[in-house]
């Protein structure tokens, strides 16, 4: 009899304690992670480790030093000097490889060639799709007989061993990366194909372009207002926070975020109430569906309380640039697009990317 209350109380308490401890550890880890890479000029994935040499800062972007690159990619000799058959498993790597004049033979394009931005498709005439980024076909990759495979840390770490059996492969950060991390990854890609110097030049040219666009943006009304990019689908709206690629690019361009404190999560699921609380001056939306939750919100009287709606500053942008193809090329496109947006007069058409692409 005495056992009854004990077991029936202790076991649930144990489960609750486990949940609380697990949750606590998760929150602490998230906070530590946020504290370790809080700003756009962080030094990449391993910034929490001691930097051995002083990092070089180029136009406000903290680049990896040669030593840091060598530390992260120590076995350069196993990679071909002049790779001809490269397989890229993320669009961001595609941008890096194309910037060096190399043409990949295999791309994980989700079987949707339309998801690749025009800047890339103009340079790749013929390639083989290796399936989705989430679930690429190892057989298709092996069939291409690649001499280098570049995979994404978040999606492909679990198949890294299989990939390395097919060809020399490297796993680099792509999904969830910031703007600066994207450039640092480009440095690593340059190193892996033995073209550090050329990549350095590409990055310098890019940063020069970005500096020009940044100084132009500083003279526009966007400099004193905040801008928020969000993805909308029929399931909801996700704000791309300051730690996301789009958010960190805006931060690099000295454009304020309406949610500057929300650094720990890159993509923030948002209700209309939270959007009202953020209340951005400019709202840039990228559609994943024709009919979205955002369209339903339009019928709510609260929707008209948004500053961006009142000032006619809700702009539809192309999610392939703003969310799916993180690269130096898309960053330049996004910055140019922001400049166009800043020059617009109120009441003009609210769709930008198609105009720029044409």
């Amino acid at each position: 009899m005495n056992q009854r209350p004990r077991l029936s109380i202790i076991l649930p308490l144990f489960v609750i304690a486990l949940i609380i401890i697990g949750g606590g550890i998760f929150i602490v880890n998230q906070k530590n992670k946020a504290a370790a890479s809080p700003l756009s000029n962080s030094a990449g994935n391993d910034t929490s480790q001691t930097a051995i040499t002083k990092p070089s800062v180029n136009n406000g972007v903290r680049l990896l030093t040669d030593q840091q690159i060598k530390e992260r990619l120590p076995n350069l000799e196993k990679y071909s000097n002049n790779p001809k058959r490269i397989v890229v498993m993320e669009n961001s790597f595609l941008g890096d490889v194309l910037a060096l004049g190399l043409k990949p033979v295999g791309i994980a394009d989700d079987d949707k060639p339309d998801s690749i931005i025009t800047e890339f498709t103009q340079q790749i005439s013929d390639y083989t799709s290796i399936g989705s980024r989430y679930q690429p076909s190892l057989e298709a990759i092996a069939d291409l007989k690649p001499d280098l495979i570049i995979a994404d840390e978040e999606r492909h770490t679990v198949i890294a061993e299989e990939l390395s059996r097919i060809a020399p492969s490297v796993v680099l950060k792509s999904r969830g990366e910031s703007y600066v991390e994207n450039i640092q990854t480009a440095q690593l890609v340059g190193h892996i194909v033995h073209q550090d110097q050329k990549m350095s030049q590409v990055i310098n040219v890019h940063l020069q372009t970005m500096r020009g666009l940044r100084s132009q943006l500083a003279k526009t009304r966007l400099a004193s207002q905040n801008v928020q990019f969000a993805i909308v689908s029929d399931k909801g709206m996700w704000l791309h926070g300051p730690s996301s690629y789009a958010g960190s690019l805006l931060s690099y361009l000295n454009i304020q975020s309406p949610i500057p404190k929300q650094m720990d999560v890159a993509y923030i699921a948002t209700s209309l109430e939270q959007l009202l609380a953020a209340d951005p001056d400019w709202l840039l939306i990228g559609r994943y569906n024709d009919h979205t939750l955002y369209d339903e919100w339009k019928s709510s009287p609260l929707f008209n309380q948004l500053t961006a709606v009142k000032k006619n500053q809700v702009i539809e942008v192309d999610p392939t640039y703003w969310a799916l193809n993180r690269s130096m090329q898309s960053a330049e496109h996004m910055a140019t697009e922001l400049l166009q947006i800043a020059k617009r007069k109120g009441g003009e058409s609210a769709s930008m990317s198609s105009e720029l692409s044409n």
Partner: protein, 360 residues
């Protein structure tokens, strides 16, 4: 005279026991209504970047000229918080009663509406639609979930032999549910693998959320729920007989097959409409009937006329408070309410299972 009455109402007298049970029952109902009321109040005002209070609703009572309230706080309460609380109340009530009915017709205290594959059916059609394999007329997630829920339920019922004209053993129904669930979950996963960027949205929907509840979904949900819950309550006397066993129920004139069909239809309707509005929300249908039975055992006889409304109230309380907590957990970000019901439900269910095992 007073002494005489005191003697009659001694703690051992049947009348004293009856009065005590009446008082306890009244206290239980009042207490739960207070908990629900506080939950609604918190649901309306707590965890917002705006300083919301119930006083923001006063302009609604004082303005009679038909003009829409100008205050953003009042609009937030009316346009966002109220539908959200209403959805929580209705979905909680529906899932709790669906769980209760499921446990009656399967005579299995571990059964829940998920056994009929309703959640996984809805999820499957939503996931398939997100990769462009849906039917053209299923334009909204609501329709997709509704159709998926009804189809999967029909599939489970068909496999169990409900359409064969013979009586169906509850175990066969459960086994069919397990098989169809496994199939639907497999298809859903396959669809999600191919969606990639869209998968994030589908996964968020799969966790179950009422953060984007809107007035537009309330009429369908409310009318369906009230009619279905009312019909369920009307069936209560028959359910009282059904728990005594098929033979006894038949000998007392209950049409078993009609009752099973009615209950099956009710479970499907209640769960499908809830899943369509809020996504698949776990554990409510599983644990609330257990909690309701335990509470009712203390204060009354186990009649479904009381068990059903008590489940309605407890289900509403659980969902309303889970929604409040879902905002509190990672404020200002929102956590899907389905995760909270699972987090609350798991330890409660373990406690109930432990007690049941030890009682047995």
């Amino acid at each position: 005279m007073i002494e005489f009455r005191m003697n009659r109402l001694s703690p051992l007298s049947p009348k004293y026991q009856t009065i005590k049970r009446h008082v306890l029952r009244a206290l239980l109902w009042c207490g739960l209504l207070v908990v629900l009321f506080i939950g609604c109040w918190q649901g309306l005002t707590a965890y917002s970047k705006f300083s919301l209070s119930l006083a923001d609703l006063i302009p609604l009572l004082t303005q009679h000229n038909g003009s829409y309230p100008a205050s953003i706080n009042t609009q937030l309460l009316i346009e966002i918080r109220m539908p959200r609380v209403l959805v929580a109340i209705l979905v909680g009530a529906n899932l709790a009663v669906a769980g209760l009915l499921m446990q009656v017709i399967t005579r299995n205290s571990l059964a829940s509406p998920a056994v009929l594959g309703i959640n996984s059916g809805a999820a499957c059609v939503v996931a398939l639609s997100s990769i462009g394999l849906g039917v053209a007329f299923l334009t909204s997630t609501f329709l997709q979930a509704m159709v998926g829920a009804v189809l999967s339920c029909a599939l489970v019922a068909g496999l169990a032999g409900y359409f064969s004209g013979r009586s169906v053993h509850p175990v066969r129904l459960i086994l069919s549910g397990v098989a169809i669930n496994a199939l639907l979950i497999g298809i859903t996963r396959a669809a999600l693998i191919t969606t990639d960027e869209q998968a994030y949205g589908v996964l968020y929907w799969l966790a179950g959320s009422i953060a984007n509840s809107r007035w537009e979904s309330i009429p369908v949900l409310a009318i369906t729920s009230i009619l279905a819950l009312g019909y369920g309550w009307w069936l209560s006397p028959k359910l009282n007989v059904l728990v005594l066993g098929d033979d006894v129920a038949s000998s007392l004139g209950v049409n078993l097959r009609a009752l099973q069909w009615s209950c099956g239809a009710l479970i499907t309707i209640l769960t499908a409409v809830s899943v369509a509005v809020a996504g698949p929300i776990a554990f409510v249908g599983l644990i609330i009937p257990h909690v309701a039975k335990r509470l009712l055992k203390q204060v009354s006889n186990m009649a479904y006329e009381q068990l059903l409304p008590l489940s309605v109230l407890l289900g509403s309380i659980l969902m309303v408070w889970a929604d409040v907590l879902s905002r509190a957990v990672a404020y200002p970000a929102e956590t899907p309410v389905g995760l909270l019901t699972a987090l609350i439900g798991t330890p409660v269910f373990i406690a109930l299972a432990c007690r049941r095992r030890l009682d047995g």
